[in-house]
Amino acid sequence: MIDKIFNARLLDPAKQAIHSDDQSYDINITAGKISEISLSHLKPNFSKNIQNTLSKSYIDAKEKLVFAGLVDLATYLREPGASYKASIKSETYAAASAGITTLCFQPEPRVLVNNTANVNLIHEINQRSATAHIEVIGNLTQDLKGETLSNMGGLKQANCVGVSNGLQPLKDLHTLHMAMKYASTHDLKVFIHPLEHSLAQKGCVHAGSVATRVGLPSIPVAAESAALAQALTLVEATGAKTHFCRLSSAASVKLIEYGKKQGLPITADVAAHQLFLTDIDIMHFNPLCHTYPPLRSERDKNALRQGLADGVIDAICSDHQPHEIDAKLAPFQQTEIGISGLETLLPLTLKLVEEGVFDLSHALKLISLNPAKILNIDAGQLRCGSNADLVIFDPDAFWCLEAELMLSDGKNTPFLGQWFSGEVINTLLAGKMVYSKN
């Protein structure tokens, strides 16, 4: 256990004004919680001596940044059910190494969350390694089949943060309408991946000139915006708290903006890779860029970036989908969707700061404080009494993403070989050191 971090430059998107100075602070940790944050009075040299002579429960964070652990809204953990792809142990450790201390478990047909037993099992497995907190999103419908409602009351009692049907279709709008009403009965947030299946057909890439050139079946933007518009109407009718997941288009940003102006209780997120890749990247049938939603046009990408800067979109998530290697070794259409994204969530978000899309404080807000608010959990800020989920970060490091060095079981990312600046040195989970670079 770590008792104290000293000489740290703090970054807290919740109280920018206090910590934006270049002062050094000390953080005291008691029983896994932050007990005190105070200005450092120790001289740098003196502190070095302390670390040498005293126990290892102190961290000298000189020239390092310290911020609250990140909160990721979407992680496919694959366990229990598909552990040939990845396991809770491997992925939570990968998360810790990337500064993520809270993960959101995403239900999928491979790994269902129908009842309290399912939820408890996930937490039980996680307790064995305990390198990250897991929040669970439960099924919206039984077995995600889209027909009958899941046991939402029980899921709420088991502390699920919300319910979702993932990318699986619902039988009809009536089912969605009732699911939203019933979820709000139990004060559960509904997580919706807007997708009109009849418009998406069997498409796998963005409907545009690249799809035409490579001859792959495509998904029009309207498959997302039509579903989103319908869902917004139902939010208005039911008042159900709703989060829209993985937006991909300029049209969706506009709709969310409109919904928020109407005062609807909605939030939205985007996957980090969607802010960098476009349909041009699938030009040579690169299966690592096979995602859902599909990578769209440059214009859509820029609108998503602007939406984040303007606060229309609330969060960036990893949309982490680890795969075994064979899942991506086939002709494009036959490969499985998704990118292994945990280890690039923070690096890609910081790249947006380098590119001038928004400032560092706003960037951190998008991957820690805002997702924490969406999940209604106490995380994402440095506050006395909160869990000491902390990241010690070296802003001057420069590193390259390599498959051999990735900790996730899924090496399926198109960002291999890219250089990033800034690196996580230590990650603390409730005061316990769960990752150390050295």
């Binding site: 545009g208 000139s209 040579h284 049938f285 064979d326 002709p331 090496k411 291999l416």
Partner: protein
């Protein structure tokens, strides 16, 4: 483990461009996956070589020994009669051994992955894979992961490309028209689902064809076709306007599934508005030629009197199909032999 490592390494490499994947360092043809990005010179070379292989009916066919001792494997994951037969015939006229893998009874239908199938066939010392598959990019995928001494020929992948068909069409046009530059070529019908149309558009643009037109209802025009080299003003939904003064008419096959997918109301209505009749043919230049990649739906996209008429060159296309495939096979094997010699030195 070894294989995984190898694949891991290959996954790390940024994707090769199709142009660099098809050609070796000396810019000779090694695989034939798509017409896109090939040079006009190379296309001319293919056409010239094919011309030398074109045969006359009712003569003893000349046997070449260019592919003696080589093995060609036809891997057809989709049904085909014409294309498979012409590939087979082309290989035999070049003295290669030819095998047709029946996919319906093969291990692929028992759940073996495509990569494993390829690895197993590779172990049987195959020299050329001729691949047809319902998914776009399959030929590229196989070319990328198979052993370097194997050449992959794309016999049609999804809606992406059908390069040998496009080249045999170019040969047919060249036999009837002195030059591509002044030509107006109209492609009519289901452009959206046609790999043939895409490859033809690429080939025609590379050969500097004067005007490439596409004619179809809006439901069958793919989004962003302008980026392939069809100017916006050359996209027609009215066939009578589109056929005016053209030199070449290429009709495409319309499949029955299109009606079920709500893209068209009926075959009758399609024929009424887009079928090539004798009357419509008169709108084109008097010496215009009519082509069709086959198999044609008579009474759906083309009138029998046109298909069998004196302007139709549909059967020339089939004859040329053998010659083009002989040309491609001999070129890729020549490239491979030169590579081998280079390695030996």
């Amino acid at each position: 483990m070894d294989r995984d490592h190898l694949i891991n390494q290959r996954l790390n490499v940024p994707d090769e461009l199709p142009s660099t994947m098809q050609l070796n360092a000396q810019r000779q043809l090694k695989h034939f996956l798509t017409v896109e990005t090939l040079s006009p010179l190379l296309l001319e070379e293919i056409l010239d070589r094919a011309e030398s292989f074109v045969t006359q009916p009712n003569r003893i066919q000349k046997q070449y020994s260019l592919l003696q001792g080589k093995t060609v494997m036809n891997l057809f994951f989709e049904n085909s009669t014409r294309t498979r037969t012409t590939f087979e015939l082309a290989a035999k006229r070049l003295s290669a051994d030819v095998f047709n893998l029946d996919i319906r009874t093969s291990a692929t239908s028992k759940g073996e992955s495509l990569l494993d199938t390829i690895r197993n066939l590779e172990a049987m010392n195959i020299d050329i894979f001729v691949v047809r598959h319902q998914h776009s990019g399959t030929a590229n995928f196989i070319a990328r992961y198979c052993a370097p001494h194997i050449s992959v020929l794309n016999a049609g992948d999804g809606h992406h490309a059908h390069p040998t068909q496009a080249m045999l069409d170019m040969l047919t046009i060249r036999q009837h028209k002195p030059s591509f530059q002044p030509l107006k070529v109209a492609i009519v019908g289901d452009i959206l689902h046609s790999r043939v149309a895409r490859s033809q558009i690429h080939a025609l643009s590379i050969l500097a064809t004067g005007e490439i037109r596409v004619i179809a209802p809006k439901t069958l025009i793919p989004i962003g076709i302008e980026d392939l080299g069809v100017r916006p003003e050359n996209i027609y939904s009215d066939i009578d306007q589109g056929l005016k003064d053209v030199d070449v008419i290429i009709m495409l096959r319309l499949q029955k599934e299109r009606m079920q997918a709500a893209l068209l109301p009926s075959e009758q209505e399609f024929y009424k508005f887009y079928g090539l009749t004798e009357e419509r043919l008169k709108l084109a230049k008097p010496d215009a030629i009519v082509m069709h990649p086959g198999p044609a739906n008579r009474g759906v996209e083309i009138d029998s009197r046109v298909a069998d008429g004196k302007q139709s060159v549909i059967l020339n296309q089939v004859t040329n199909g053998v010659a083009i495939r002989m040309a491609i096979m001999s070129m890729v094997m020549q490239t491979q032999q030169q590579e081998q010699t280079r390695i030996a030195i």
